[in-house]
Structure formats: structure tokens, C-alpha cells
Amino acid sequence: MTTLRTELLAQPGLTLPKRRVSFGTVATIVAASLAYLSAFPLLDISPDRFWRGLSQLGTIARLMLPPETGGHLALYLDALVQTLSIALLGTLLASIVALPLGFLAARNVVANRVVHLLTRRSMDAFRSIDALIWALIWVNVVGLGPFAGLLAIATSDVCALAKLMSEAVEAADRRPVEATRAVGGSRLLELRFGLLPQILPIFASQLLYFFESNTRSATIIGIVGAGGIGLHLYEQIRVLEWQQASFLILLVLVTVALIDAISQRLRAGLIGRSR
């Protein structure tokens, strides 16, 4: 391949400035590529296994067509409704807890450095636990079923949502708050008329975004028995009923795409109004 540089260098009488690449950049790139290449033997990945699996995958893809309900359409649609319910209630529950938490974690509301650092760090820590792990734990606590899934979605979201909220509060304009204080407003009124009108559109759009992503999470949470369509998907794949599995995957795809499209519209409207 001839690049522009080699083409230009071929021109007689033309000199180009030398390119300088820092040692750090080279070292990073070399280390990253070495780690990448050495990962394959460590993870027991060989080209042979890959190609064999790929041909298997081809067979599976053929077996998936055409998608079929297997006479369980009502059951699957019911599970889909359950999935959406889990996502909606989980998001709402998370938001109810996260809004006050977000205010507490914001530096300009609670000015104590220690409190700020502690809340932020513990939020980061709990954020690292996936909804699926929470689901397993809640299944142990409240038993199998969608209720465990709802609680799992809520717990996994609270910290992420609270962190985002606290960032929004910190980024908020100080002037409306000061104006409220200047006309004699109490601390609570400052929050209500100074901060809340700035925060709410952001909060609402974040909620919609979380609802979107929670719909995705809620579709898989059934894998560990926490309700929703995931349980059926898991079972159909386990018993190698590929046609029904592909129908369920399609159902999930269409639902998620639909929710995405609706929520994107709404979010655009919300953000547009706040500006």
C-alpha cells in the first residue's frame, strides 16, 4: 500500500519534516499488542477451535430459521410484559432513592469533603456489581420471580443514577440559587426554585435512558430466575429449540428497538425544552 507520505517522498527535491513519536506512545502500543497476542493462548483460544465453532454456528443459524413460537405465543408475550414491568418499576424505584442521594453527594449541596469522597467512592464500588449478580442475591432474599428482578434492577441503578445526578447538581448554574437567596428564600426554597428547575429535565432524560438500558437488562435477568423473558430464552437455548430461541431473540430485538426509538424522541424533546 502506498501512503500519501511515500508518494510525496518519491517526489524529487521534496523533503518532509521528520515525524516524532514519543517513547511513551510506542511503549504503550507495544505493551497493549503484546498483552492482546499473549491473551489467546492464556484463554485457550486456538484458530482451530474458532473455525470449528464457526461452522457449528453456521449450522445453528440455519436451524434458527424460520423463527417459530411453538404454540407458546401467549406465554412469551406475557413474559415480555413482565420484562417491561420490571424495567419500569425498577427504574422508578431507583430514581426515588437516587434523587436525594444525588443531592447529598453533590459538592455544592453538602460541602463536607469527607462525606463527598465517601459517598462518591462507595457509589463507584457498588456500581461495579452487575445487575445479574444483584438478581442472584435478591433471588436468595425474596425468592424466585419478577420481584427479585425488579429489586435487582433498582439496586444496580441507584448508584449510577445518584452519581450522574450529583454531577448534574454540581454543574448547575449558581445564579438562580443566589437569586432565590437574595430575595430571602430559605435553604429549601433555594433547592426548589434555584436547583430543581435546572436538574429535572436532565433527571427525566437520564431516567428515560436508564429505562432503555434496563429493558435490555430485564430481558436477561430471567437467566438466573428473576422473572421476564430471559428464563424462556435460556430454557429454549438449553434444550436446543433454536427456532423458538430465535423467535424470542427477535421479540427482544423489536421491543428494545421500539423502546429506544420512543425514548429517544422523548429525550430530545426534554433536553430541547430545557435549553
Partner: protein, 308 residues
């Protein structure tokens, strides 16, 4: 409401003789007031409508998710004691009294956690390659053929929308148990997500450098290399780092379906109520993600500083 001022009244500044300001008369104010009231009413209508839709949704979901407050209240003390049990060894002592016993599987878990990290890393890196290729092919300002753009966009959409664990479920059947299906699942999902994000970045670049390269007779690839890449590189790297963080979390649970990493052991420990094992593994996982979080945040800040 607008301030109610009498017609012809002078403001204090005017009385002092600085300048003469007369407030507008009612004939001018009334349409303004009416428009203000109407705008307020329209906003209230939207809010009420939104609240009504939300309430109906919640009512339906309440039934759909089999919500039972009684069950929750019964479960609540259980949740509290669960946390307590996580803090106890099976000997009955607190976990921190005997760290060696608590982390009895440190070696095994470290290896599995390392595997989880590798799965996330390889998956993210491979997904990054797919994302870059996909975004270049899906961008309206780089590829003329609408058919190519449409096809690439749909493929990326599919990869993004199917959750990685569903990919893993299918791949475990095709490729067998182990990290390979996990890596592939994360690769595909990451490729789809990054592809979409990158497309937005590429479509918002400045086209002039590109035209400059084209004007000197550079090929399409040279245009991408010298016209596009310098503009998007730091943005791409920053998104990829964010994705790596997310994928470490994802790789930790992909073992639930047999696709390698610490997930398998975690699943068994939670299912079989090995409380101290659960807390030990979760602690290691949290620490690991936190370190990556902090390092990648530093790196991302440096990358963004390069831009400005």
C-alpha cells in the same frame, strides 16, 4: 406574572432624571400576559399528561411484575441479615478476624479474575477494531453508497441490541465451554456499541482536512488516515476505555452461562449460600473495577487535554 405597573408611572431611575422610562400600557401588556398564561397552561398540560401516562404504566407494571409489598416487608429483614451473613465466616466469626480463612481461594479467584480481565480486554480490543471499521463504512460523509451504509448500520444495530450474555449463551453451544464464547460475545456487543458511537463522531468531523488530502491526490485510505484519524483518535480512545470498564463488569457475569472468568464460581457460591466466599469474590471484583475506573479516568482526562 409581569409586574403590574400603572400607566405612565415613572420608574425611580427616571425620577432621578437619569432618563425617562415609561412602562408600557395595558394595551401592549395584555397580549403578553395572555401568551404567558397560555404557555404556562400548555406546559402544565404536558406535565399532567406525562404523569397520567406514567401512572397508568406503573399500575399495569405493578400487576405485571407481581409486586407484593407484603412480600417485600417480609423479605426486608432477610435482606438485612443477608448482609450480616456475608460478613460472617462459616465458623461464626466475623470475616475480618481471619482474612486468611476468608480468602482461602485467593489463588484460584485471582486466576479467574485475571481471566475475566483478559476476556474483557481482548473483547474490547477486537470490538474496537470492528467499531472503527463499521463507523467508517456507516458514515454518510465518507461512504457515498447508501446501500453499504444501510447494511452496515443494520448489522451494527443487531450487534448492539442483542445483550452480550445472549450471544454468550448461543456461542457456548457452538464453541464449547470456556473463555472463547465469552470473548466473542463481548467482541460483537462492543463492536456494535462502539460502531454507533464512532459513527456519530465521524459524521461530525471537519471535512476540510479530508478535502485537502483529496486535492493533493491522496487515495481514499490516505484521506481516512490523514484527514479523519487525527480528528477522531482521542475521542475513539476515550470511548474504548469507557467500554473496557463496562466490559470488565460484563465479563464477570458471563461465566454464569459457562463462558469463562470468575462468574462460574460466583454463581455457585451465591446459589449454595457460601456467604464468606461471595463477599470475598465481590470485594475482589469491586477493587479490580475501581482500580480500572481510576486509571481509565486519568487516561481519559489526559486524552481530552490533548484535544484542546
Amino acid at each position: 406574572m409581569l409586574p403590574a405597573a400603572r400607566e405612565g408611572e415613572m420608574l425611580p431611575a427616571a425620577r432621578e432624571g437619569a432618563m425617562l422610562i415609561a412602562t408600557p400600557g395595558t394595551a401592549q401588556l395584555d397580549p403578553l400576559r395572555r401568551a404567558y398564561a397560555e404557555a404556562g397552561a400548555a406546559r402544565r398540560r404536558v406535565v399532567v399528561l406525562g404523569a397520567a401516562v406514567l401512572l397508568v404504566g406503573v399500575a399495569l407494571a405493578w400487576v405485571g411484575a407481581e409486586v407484593d409489598p407484603a412480600k417485600f416487608w417480609r423479605g426486608l429483614p432477610n435482606a438485612g441479615s443477608y448482609v450480616g451473613r456475608l460478613a460472617h465466616l462459616d465458623t461464626g466469626a466475623y470475616v475480618w478476624t481471619d482474612p486468611k480463612y476468608w480468602f482461602w481461594g485467593l489463588r484460584r479467584w485471582s486466576i479467574e479474575l485475571g481471566q475475566t480481565l483478559l476476556i474483557a480486554y481482548v473483547g474490547t480490543a477486537s470490538g474496537l477494531a470492528i467499531g472503527i471499521a463499521g463507523s467508517v463504512l456507516a458514515s454518510a460523509n465518507l461512504v457515498r453508497s447508501a446501500a453499504v451504509r444501510f447494511a452496515v448500520r443494520r448489522v451494527l444495530e443487531f450487534m448492539r441490541t442483542v445483550p452480550d450474555i445472549v450471544f454468550a449463551l448461543v456461542f457456548v453451544v457452538a464453541f464449547g465451554l470456556g473463555p472463547l464464547p465469552g470473548v466473542l460475545a463481548i467482541t460483537l456487543h462492543t463492536g456494535g456499541t462502539l460502531g454507533k458511537l464512532f459513527t456519530e463522531v465521524v459524521e461530525s468531523i471537519d471535512l476540510k482536512p479530508l478535502e485537502g488530502v483529496a486535492a493533493t491526490g491522496g487515495s481514499w485510505l490516505s484521506q481516512i488516515r490523514f484527514g479523519v484519524l487525527p480528528q477522531v483518535l482521542s475521542n475513539f480512545a476515550s470511548y474504548a476505555l469507557l467500554r473496557l470498564e463496562y466490559n470488565v463488569r460484563g465479563a464477570a457475569v458471563i461465566g454464569f452461562v459457562g463462558a469463562g472468568g470468575i462468574g462460574q464460581d460466583l454463581l455457585v457460591a451465591i446459589r449454595k449460600f457460601y456467604y464468606s466466599d461471595v463477599s470475598a469474590m465481590l470485594l475482589m471484583l469491586m477493587l479490580c473495577v475501581m482500580v480500572i475506573d481510576i486509571v481509565s479516568e486519568k487516561l481519559r482526562h489526559r486524552l481530552l487535554a490533548l484535544d484542546s
